[in-house]
């Protein structure tokens, strides 16, 4: 018995010592980043912050946000990264984020910074609502490639347009909020009244509409810019279009979770997220990133992307969300019967 104990102890010491040599703390990061971004992000973070071992928990923005909120009494994440700023505003309001301003955050573009104190989140990149237009399908019904939002209202597209449901997808809401802000409320609703006539379905995902358009299930899918570009790269016969009036957008941002047991390491990772190197990594997937001057248009990304970003007020989006969704639901959901 004693011999066992001694042996066990010796082993424990040996392993403990081994650990101490390469002491790395596990930093759990909740993220909505795309699958293929996770590997390069982890490598880059661990290179910049050697004492960190990044552990991802990744899911779609809605799921990861709901999970984070459900865990709020006993948070499991040290950081959140690549999550919609609107989600982070919800977390901030619930007092779940640690106040910290990364070194060098001041040199980032202004709209990518948390403007209301206390400073908790830092923007990484922007994502836009775009039109995925399937040219192969459109040719069959001779619909011309849209340049303006109003081109989506033509009778030839009746029942051939899909977009994300604004109540279940952040992308859906950013598009609705974008129309209301850029066209003005009255004209915005009038536009959506017309669009509704052509909508086949409001889907519960921000990328599904473009995937469906890419596969020819639909002619037009309103969706995330990055999804459009990557579908086109994979060989889908689609055009990725930012209409000339401009489009709604949102930020992806990162923040430290209040109560993190690895605060010091998390702060270093937050510092990394505001560096030029990190932003160069972001720009592999997104055309518009926080660091001024970092620019790399991903393949098949619409050229007028950054120029097409409307003047967007994230605060307005958060404050008016409930009202807008209620109005939206009243107008377009009460016709419960399927349209197709």
């Amino acid at each position: 018995m004693k011999a066992w104990l001694a042996g066990g102890l010796a082993l424990a010491v040996a392993f403990g010592a081994g650990d101490a040599l390469a002491q790395r703390s596990k930093v759990t990061i909740y993220t909505g980043l795309e699958n293929d971004q996770l590997g390069p992000f982890k490598a880059s973070i661990e290179k910049a912050v050697p004492e960190a071992e990044v552990v991802w928990v990744r899911d779609s923005t809605g799921v990861i946000t709901a999970r984070f909120m459900a865990e709020k009494d006993n948070p499991r994440a040290d950081m959140v990264m690549g999550l919609a700023a609107s989600s982070l505003l919800v977390f901030e309001k619930a007092g779940l984020l640690q106040e910290y301003k990364p070194k060098g955050a001041d040199q980032l573009k202004e709209q990518f910074r948390d403007t209301k104190g206390p400073y908790t989140w830092t923007g990484m990149d922007a994502y836009l609502g775009v039109v995925c237009f399937n040219t192969a399908e459109a040719a069959k019904s001779s619909v011309k490639t849209p340049a303006s939002w109003n081109d989506l209202l033509v009778p030839g597209l009746k029942g051939k347009v899909v977009m994300p449901h604004p109540a279940s997808s952040g992308t859906g809401y950013l598009m609705v909020a974008g129309w209301l802000q850029s066209m003005g409320e009255e004209a915005g609703w009038k536009f959506m009244d017309g669009l509704h006539e052509n909508i086949a379905a409001y889907l519960h995902s921000g990328s599904a509409p473009c995937v469906q358009a890419a596969r020819g299930e639909r002619t037009v899918g309103l969706a995330l810019d990055m999804r459009g570009a990557s579908e086109k790269t994979k060989g889908a016969p689609i055009e990725v279009i930012v209409p000339k009036e401009g489009t709604g957008w949102e930020l992806e941002a990162s923040a430290i979770v209040k109560g993190s047991k690895n605060l010091a390491v998390a702060q270093k990772i937050a510092d990394w997220s505001a560096t030029k190197e990190a932003n160069e990594l972001y720009s592999k997937s997104y055309a518009v990133v926080a660091f001024p001057g970092v620019k790399n248009t991903p393949p098949n990304y619409p050229a007028n992307g950054e120029a097409g970003m409307i003047k967007n007020d994230l605060g307005w989006m958060a404050e008016n969300r409930e009202r807008v969704l209620a109005e939206w639901s009243k107008r377009y959901e009460s016709k419960a019967a399927p349209k197709n």
Binding site: N35, D59, T65, R67, A70, S168, H204, E217, L325
Partner: protein
């Protein structure tokens, strides 16, 4: 309640046989029984009731956790869109049930009461839908009937996206669940009844009406409720193929995932529980009238060959099986296609998951671990539990409680159960929170999630064994645990294996609850499939789903082999 029940005398003592049995048993045995039932109740409360309560109690709170009484319910009934979803859900579930139960009954009849060849094959083909992640059925329906589908014309201009698609996919998906219950219900019957009927020259229709149907009544009612609740709580199919058509489960998703409005999600979750509570009430009523089919003197029924019946049933089973196999075959084909529908050349590239999923094949192995653990632990728990509820004459209050909780999980949308687990197992005050995010919680959650159908299968099989067997062993002073080990388990071995396979397969395919629970190193294949589908890597998603389906089929084949071996040894009594 279980504590109180521990002390009470068995109320079932109205039946003279039971009284005698109880008296002959020593007090020690009854205490053991009561203790075990108390333990069962405790486990069920811990893994089902408490997590559910933690979430559902939010229905009377506002988003900041303040008590608001029935305000949320008031909001619910005054929102026309939400009420419309309720109506949609009820008729979709009703229609699907009305289609599935007769279809599955005839199929089960062909498997159990005829002499058609290749029964094992037909059984396996019919189980395909539970072998495959539910996303796969929706994907294949899109491949077949979608706007670019191979057979788009067959819908005569109607769209697959909407009620038609939902009903079609739900019928496909719930068919094996109904079949599992009905096949068990039809498996055992007393051959003497049929012999007597034949001797009296009773017409076949009459025999069917007066012997076969009443014998399967319990199974039919169970199957009806199981299918209805599966359809009404399912969220995956309406999400992918429901188009504009909103149902309760997608409403819960919109509230919880779209808007983090847990209280409203809880309200919808509570409404979805209504069918389960009804099922429980009906179950109690049927139970009172149920007579054991397989009395100790019973002679197992063996169908005699009858040309015309066998031919018709063979044709029927063949058609249904072919339709199911063709549907899933299409999706398997899709997993080899380079870019559907524009580049139909075949490739193996979609099976190299590393390009679409950072873990590569790792989620698959996590899933295998989860499924193995859930099958072993879950089956032991479910079957022992069902035995205690069904056959042991002690602590009636405790048994009723356990029966009630066992019926609940099926009615709970995975989304609701998953969030309940987050709230309960991650709570600061809960000492069990060390397990949160580990495989342990996933295993427990999976067992809880699929408890009901497994429990019904066990109960259906146990109900068909005469209680006299217990009474006889009691009069021989054999304690119930020995009867359980020596008689009950061997007789019910086919049902036990069915349960184990059911648990294993569902653990492989389940998504809705575990998506909130997996940790950084316990990501599952089913979750990876959803992620790949969301990322537009549809062929890779179909590929991973195909791998899962093949694994499940392999397990099923193993099961068939074991079954044959066991039929050879333990089930020899069935043959005369």
């Amino acid at each position: 309640m279980s504590q109180a029940a521990l002390g009470t005398a068995p109320a079932a003592a109205f039946r003279p046989g039971a009284v005698a049995a109880a008296r002959r048993r020593g007090p020690g045995e009854r205490q053991v029984a009561s203790l075990l039932i108390g333990l069962l109740c405790a486990v069920l409360v811990l893994i089902v009731a408490l997590p559910l309560w933690t979430l559902l109690s939010k229905a009377v709170q506002d988003t900041d956790g303040r008590f608001v009484g029935l305000a949320n319910f008031l909001t619910y009934v005054t929102t026309p869109t939400l009420v419309a979803s309720l109506v949609n859900s009820v008729w979709i579930a009703g229609l699907s049930t009305a289609i599935v139960v007769p279809l599955a009954f005839v199929y089960a009849y062909a498997l159990q009461r005829s002499r058609i060849p290749c029964k094992g094959l037909f059984y396996a083909a019919a189980l395909l839908p539970i072998f495959a992640p539910s996303l796969l059925s929706a994907l294949s329906l899109v491949y077949i009937f979608g706007n670019q589908g191979i057979l788009k014309g067959a819908l005569a201009g109607a769209s697959i996206y909407g009620p038609i698609g939902i009903v079609l996919a739900e019928v496909l998906y719930s068919f094996p669940h109904a079949l599992l219950i009905l096949a068990t219900a039809l498996a055992l019957s007393d051959g003497r009844l049929y012999e007597a009927a034949e001797a009296l020259g009773t017409s076949r229709a009459r025999v069917f009406r007066t012997v076969t149907l009443p014998g399967a009544r319990y199974g039919l009612i169970s199957a009806t409720f199981v299918v209805f609740t599966i359809v009404i709580t399912d969220f995956g199919i309406p999400k992918v193929i429901g188009g504009q058509f909103s149902v309760l489960a997608t409403d819960a998703y919109k509230q919880v995932v779209g808007q983090q409005n847990f209280p409203m999600g809880a309200v919808v979750g509570l409404i979805l529980l209504v069918p389960a509570v009804l099922a429980f009430a009906v179950d109690r009523m049927v139970r009172r009238r149920q007579v054991a089919l397989l009395s100790a003197r019973a002679v197992p029924y063996a169908p005699k060959p009858r040309r015309r019946r066998d031919l018709v049933l063979l044709l029927y089973a063949g058609t249904v099986a072919a339709l199911i196999v063709a549907t899933y075959g299409t999706a398997v084909w899709g997993s080899f296609v380079r870019y559907w529908p524009y580049n139909l050349s075949l490739t193996l590239a979609n099976y190299d998951f590393a390009s679409a999923e950072p873990g590569g094949w790792e989620p698959y192995f996590n899933s295998l671990r989860l499924a193995g653990l859930a099958a072993v632990i879950g089956t032991a728990l479910v079957f022992t539990g069902a035995y205690l509820i069904e056959k042991v004459e002690a602590a009636p209050g405790g048994r009723a409680l356990a029966q009630f909780i066992a019926m609940l999980p099926m009615a709970v949308p995975g989304l609701v159960l998953g969030l309940g687990y987050v709230f309960f197992f991650n709570a600061v005050w809960n000492p069990l929170n060390v397990f949160y995010g580990t495989l342990t919680v996933l295993v427990v959650n999976t067992i809880a999630h699929f408890y009901t159908v497994a429990h019904i299968t066990a109960t259906t099989s146990l109900k068909q064994i005469d209680r006299e067997i217990e009474a006889v062993s009691a009069s021989l002073k054999v304690p119930f645990w020995r009867t359980f080990g020596r008689v009950t388990v061997p007789i019910c071995m086919p049902a036990i294996l069915d349960i184990a396979v059911y648990m294993f397969v569902n653990a492989l395919t389940t998504v809705s609850a575990v998506i909130f629970l997996y940790g950084a190193d316990s990501k599952l294949a089913s979750v990876a499939i959803v992620h790949m589908d969301e990322a537009g890597a549809i062929a890779s998603a179909a590929a991973m789903a195909t791998v899962i389906m093949l694994t499940a089929i392999a397990v099923k084949l193993l099961h068939l082999g074991l079954d044959r071996f066991l039929f050879g040894r333990l089930q020899r009594w069935r043959a005369r």
